[in-house]
Symmetry: C2
Subunit: 146 residues, 2 copies
């Protein structure tokens, strides 16, 4: 999906050494068209190398903390990971299918959100805004109709 991101560069720009695991994680997330679970990321790496799931969790924590990745709450009790907004990735909402638990990225324009007023008046610090639509995805809808 993303031919624009030099993951090594991104890591360095955030003050992180780049090692093969970190780069793999960034690549996998960056190349996905939908936000991935830690499990999916771990499985993908495992296909070529071999990595402990704890290591994956730790890398994800680190990348989220450094602002390279976004941790997105799914409609269930798990998290997904996607590229954090940057020059090549605009912030966008997500759709969660309560039937198959899959998540999709929606286009940045699909939902218009105006938080300006709140940003000015809210007494706390707002760090991120998450918009998630829940329902049944196209696929599951078709299966249900059969």
């Amino acid at each position: 999906m993303c031919r624009h991101c030099d993951y090594k560069e991104l890591l360095k720009a955030s003050g992180l050494e780049s090692n093969s695991n970190r780069i793999r994680v960034m690549e996998i997330v960056g190349n996905s068209s939908y936000p991935l679970s830690a499990q999916e990321i771990s499985d993908t790496i495992d296909r070529t190398a071999s990595i402990n799931r704890v290591t994956v969790y730790r890398i994800l924590d680190l990348l989220v903390e450094k602002g390279l990745l976004d941790r997105i709450s799914a409609g269930d009790r798990s998290f997904r990971y996607g590229m954090a907004p940057n020059a090549h990735h605009r912030h966008h909402p997500h759709f969660y299918c309560r039937q198959c638990s899959a998540m999709e990225c929606l286009s940045p324009e699909s939902v218009h959100l105006d938080t300006a007023f709140l940003e000015r008046t809210f007494p706390g610090a707002i760090e991120k805004v998450e918009v998630r639509l829940d329902g049944i995805c196209k696929n599951c809808l078709q299966k249900l109709l059969k």
Copy 2:
């Protein structure tokens, strides 16, 4: 908070028998100014009666399924419960403090969200829209500054 809702009526209108546990849950959620965790609801009931947490979970599942309550994902891996939108309760966004895990309800006007385009064009079925802002709440901000 809510003097407008006759919980017994609401239950009946959704085709549910009303028993004391269900009414208590509805009252507790309806009277709260912020969305509550199952734990909080369970604890509150326990102060006057005695109830198993599994029962609370089952009542919550039921009330969510019937559309009386909303299950809201917090920024962590847990859920909160609030009144579902109805005549007296407009749909509104929430704020989650990553420091103390507390959630707040934001006013329905605080964020302007336009999903019309998506509702028309999305190939799946959209059942609900969740807007959550994450950050540090006023309280925690003050503590951090000390």
